[in-house]
């Protein structure tokens, strides 16, 4: 177990115990860990790498979507080669994990809250306790190929209010997650969001205009996840710098420098 900036994390070799294919674009991976790990909370992530090989060299950051006893689950989108190799793992294969990394997301308990997910961006919020003022989930998807992922998420979110938007209108009303949130968000609300840069940027802009709080889960290239490499550095509005891996990945939109979405 290692400690960095007050975070305690482990490095362990897990075994994939189940894989649910969610269409062509993603998979739900359940990994058994060899022993106990430090507690994991919503918003935290892991770096996953393939044992014994140097290519891919680095772990891939994935939000921990579920953590129960000796199991952790991930919702993995096939974004490129590394995530594709992870999404294609077969039960029985080993995976190296460094986790939990990052700060848990702090969901306000004192105001109306929305959770916004751009497809797999839902993952880091799946473990979040439902806050007192919870207004609902808004999920955005590109097209019908995300149908199986939506169905899987529906199962996990059963009982919670859920709005779905879809770029091409096939899985829900035409539009994206931000437009679906649209007029329903009120000044003083808080929207906790994770997803593609474009979505986060649109939400940040909307939040500044609309007077609501936006807590944004950022993605950056990461080599270490423990604050060492400075690969994930961003600039805060006040000019200081922050590391997405240890100071985030969730930041208040107000904090972020203008070049964060460049």
């Amino acid at each position: 177990m290692s400690v960095c900036g007050g975070h305690v994390f482990s490095e362990v070799r897990g075994t994939l115990v189940s894989r649910i294919s969610l269409g062509t674009g993603a998979a739900w991976l359940e990994i058994r860990l060899p022993g106990p790990i430090p507690p994991v909370r919503a918003g935290q992530f892991a770096l996953l790498s393939l044992p014994e090989v140097c290519d891919p060299l680095l772990g891939r950051p994935l939000a921990v979507a579920r953590a129960q006893e000796d199991r952790v689950s991930f919702l993995c989108r096939r974004a490129g080669r590394g995530s594709g190799l992870l999404a294609d793992l077969i039960p029985g294969q080993s995976v190296d994990l460094r986790l939990p990394l990052g700060r848990p997301v702090e969901v306000p308990q004192d105001r109306p809250v929305w959770f916004l997910g751009g497809s797999v961006g839902a993952a880091p919020l799946l473990m979040a306790p439902v806050p007192p003022g919870f207004r609902g989930w808004v999920l955005g998807f590109r097209d019908a190929s995300w149908g199986p992922a939506l169905e899987h998420l529906r199962g996990l979110l059963a009982g919670l209010p859920l709005t779905v938007a879809c770029d091409d209108g096939s899985l829900g009303p035409k539009g994206n997650a931000v437009s679906a949130l649209g007029e329903r968000v009120r000044p003083g609300d808080c929207v906790v969001a994770c997803g593609p840069e474009g979505m986060l940027q649109a939400l940040r802009d909307l939040s500044r205009a609309g007077g609501f709080q936006a807590i944004l889960g950022l993605e950056r290239r990461m080599a270490c996840g423990f604050g060492g490499c400075l690969g994930c550095r961003i600039t805060r509005r006040d000019g200081t710098s922050a590391r997405v891996c240890v100071d985030g990945p969730f930041f208040d939109g107000e904090e972020l420098g203008d070049d964060v979405f460049a």
Binding site: C54, L57, D96, A223, C229, L230, S241
Partner: protein, 317 residues
């Protein structure tokens, strides 16, 4: 046989472990440093006299077996570091190898002078000569013997403690720069820093990094850095610290056989932060299996008959 001795003695400093986390890899977090097993010395991130924000844009790119980085020496500057970071690190029980980057000779001089005030808490000053010499046409200080000489001309008289020079593989004549380091009074050479590479972004067709080129590290460069160690051994009289692509005890042992007295490990920490602890155990097992009592006996043994040669030396002594 009792468990083999891994101690590394290099020009005035003895380290309990021959393995050292390389510069720029670990956060300068005392709690993390304290928890590190398998090392005695630890390199700091690269420091400069003036604070530096580092490079804008993408800073990392994976390559097959390697990692390109263009961090750009983001650091708070020597003075802020001495005030805010050094006290914590000094209490960790680790020997501090302070990586100091040479931007220009004037600020190098100031930095060395300021650091002199903490020479009791800094075990080694590691002079990083991979920074571009802006006055001298933009090539890195370490690319030619003249640059090495110039930097040492400032750093050596200013620093009373142990001084290593971390050389760059982009040197036109690598051995000549190592010899210049020795002639300039260095107590050791670190062989070597990252290998200059490039990457493009196929969305835009433009260089991936704002500075176009970036430093390649990780297992991909291991055979290249090993070759530099092999070729430098015997050409300088000061100890060599091997660095580049080491990811296992086997790699570390190869570095030692090729001529390194100690070994820095960088990128592999990204795969396993706890890697040095395992490597030390594995190194001991490797030595034990070969009947070698002390790693130090093997330094450069590849040039003198390998394990058999080392056995002969031992029995001859």
């Amino acid at each position: 046989m009792s468990s083999p001795d891994l101690r590394a003695t290099l020009g005035g400093v003895t380290l309990d472990s021959p393995l050292i986390p390389a510069s720029g890899i670990l956060p300068m977090d005392p709690v993390l440093w304290m928890g590190l097993e398998g090392c005695d010395g630890v390199c700091t991130k690269g420091l400069t006299w003036r604070p530096r924000a580092g490079n804008p844009g993408v800073r990392l790119e994976e390559t097959p077996g390697g990692l390109l980085n263009s961090i750009g020496l983001e650091n708070p500057g020597v003075q802020a570091w001495m005030r805010e970071t050094l006290p914590g690190l000094a209490g960790t029980g680790k020997r501090i190898v302070l990586n100091l980057a040479c931007e220009d000779l004037d600020s190098l001089g100031r930095a060395v002078e300021a650091l002199g005030g903490a020479s009791d808490r800094i075990a080694v000053l590691e002079l990083n000569l991979s920074c571009p010499n802006v006055d001298g046409g933009g090539a890195a200080w370490g690319e030619a013997p003249e640059g090495v000489r110039a930097a040492l001309g400032i750093a050596r008289p200013g620093w009373k403690g142990i001084l290593w020079v971390k050389l760059t593989p982009q040197a036109g004549d690598f051995v000549a720069t190592a010899r210049a380091a020795e002639a300039g009074g260095a107590d050791g050479v670190v062989v070597a820093n990252t290998w200059l590479g490039a990457a493009l972004d196929l969305q835009t067709g433009l260089p991936r990094f704002a500075r176009s080129v970036a430093g390649l590290s990780g297992p991909a460069v291991f055979p290249l850095s090993l070759r530099l160690v092999f070729q430098t051994y015997g050409r300088v009289g000061i100890p060599i610290v091997g660095c580049g692509g080491v990811r296992s005890a086997e790699d570390a042992l190869c570095m030692v056989l090729a001529g390194a007295s100690a070994v820095e490990v960088g990128t592999w920490h990204f795969r396993k932060l706890d890697c040095l602890a395992g490597m030390c155990r594995d190194l001991q097992a490797l030595l034990q299996a070969r009947g070698v009592a002390s790693l130090a006996e093997l330094v450069g043994a590849a040039h003198r008959g390998g394990f058999a040669g080392a056995r002969k030396e031992r029995s001859g002594a």
